[in-house]
Amino acid sequence: MSVFDGLKFRGISSPIHMLDPRIKFFYVCSIFVVAIIFFELLPLLVLFLFQIPFVILARVQKEWIRSLRGAAFLASIIFGTNILFRFIYAGYTLTASDVEYASAMTLRFIALVESFSIFFLTTSPDHLGLALEKSHIPYEFCFAFTTAVRFVPVLAEEAQTIMDAQKARGLELEKGNFLRRIRNYIPILIPLIISAIRRSLELAEAMEARAWGAIEKRTNLYTLKMKRNDYLLVLVSIAVIIVGIFVKIYVSVPTISNLLGF
């Protein structure tokens, strides 16, 4: 469940927490764009390191590291399959550039997880909903979205309890081959899904009991307003995209194996 922990909002105050969620999302998108246009290790490494000051500024290092640890499993699969296919494709040989390519693909994934983790760690579900509403998305959808985000940790906790309950009935999740292991999760998933559905029905009733949707136009307790730091982040994000595209088109990026002289 450590993956979810790495995406759970931490309510501390920092310059990053104060930023407008729309701008933060724009920043995540710019990282995303740059991450997918590069196939080389060096720029992706720069992109990865570039985000670390944000993590430190937001004071979420611990949670951030946890999200990376959570992503490690998927990252190792990405690395493994890349190496494997390169290996087969090249006729059962492996060169340093193959390893570098696989590392780059893995790092691309990690950089994306990193940016999403910063976004979710520092943006409260309320702010997120507000941002969506400001973007002229119907309130019902915004509400559904924020509720979904908010319930992720609740579901994670529930999954843990269910796992304990089934383990107490002798279920061994780690037992058997790969397919068997996937099947082992059925006794966890079914109660989880059923309880999620039950919970959503109860929530719907509780909301209607509190006059949800009684008036067409809602007002908000908090409103979003762009501040100096927000404009700054817009500039940074645009700069990231421009530099990224510029480097992609006009600069030939050296590989690390070249630099090291392999």
């Binding site: 304990d164 309950a165 002798g170 109660p191």
Partner: protein, 272 residues
Amino acid sequence: MIEIKDLWFTYPNGVEALRNISLEIRKGEFVAIMGQNGAGKTTLIKHFNGLLKPSKGAVLVDGVNTESVSVAKLARKVGFIFQNPDNQLFCETVEDEIAFALKNFGFKEAPLKRRVTWALNLLGLMEYRKASPFMLSGGERKRVALASVLAWDPQVVVMDEPTIGQDYSQKEKLRQFIIQLNTQGKTVVVVTHDVEFVSECNPRVILMSGGRIVADGIGKDVLTDVELLTQASVVLPQVTEIFMGIKDLEFPLDVIDLYEAKELLLKRLGGK
């Protein structure tokens, strides 16, 4: 049966849930663990079948350190019934639900069938054997969860809040059932907030507060100690409260049992 030595437990998020717990639960004992929310009751019983491992100290089940064996191995000896039956039900029929654990423990076809039938009868679920567990009422689901654990006949039965969400007659049936289990030699551990339930069962009572054991003794002593109960945010049983309210009449103050209370009152009033 269960031996706990200087147990400390801290959750990964830094919450220190158990502080220096030492405890021995003997074979065939009936123990109720009480205390307010967050006192560490559930954390403690999760150590009994290895779902949680001690941060410091040791837990021995039948002489075996829980740290050295899997939950599945321990579960064979220690049956654990969770508070919410919906956290474990997932099969298409009640029968399959009860067979699930038996299959995990590697029971063969014939004994498996025998055990399932036995458990269905034990909890009065025979008529629902082909029904879907999700279609049953709350009380019935709870019984299915109970049957699915008792089916493999564990030596220790641990129940987390068995009385929550049960109506009075269900609770009374459950109480008799637990007492029956206990008289048949099973070690029973119950975690509950329900003072009335405990006072009627009259087990050994362990009172927890802030991750520590603050009292451990017979119900008559623990459940009538006002100071202790206040500290652990547990209320007095109603019978005891009445007797404390009329203490000027020089009644004993350690009455928790309804039957005893009736006898005392009748004697004083000169009735029979």
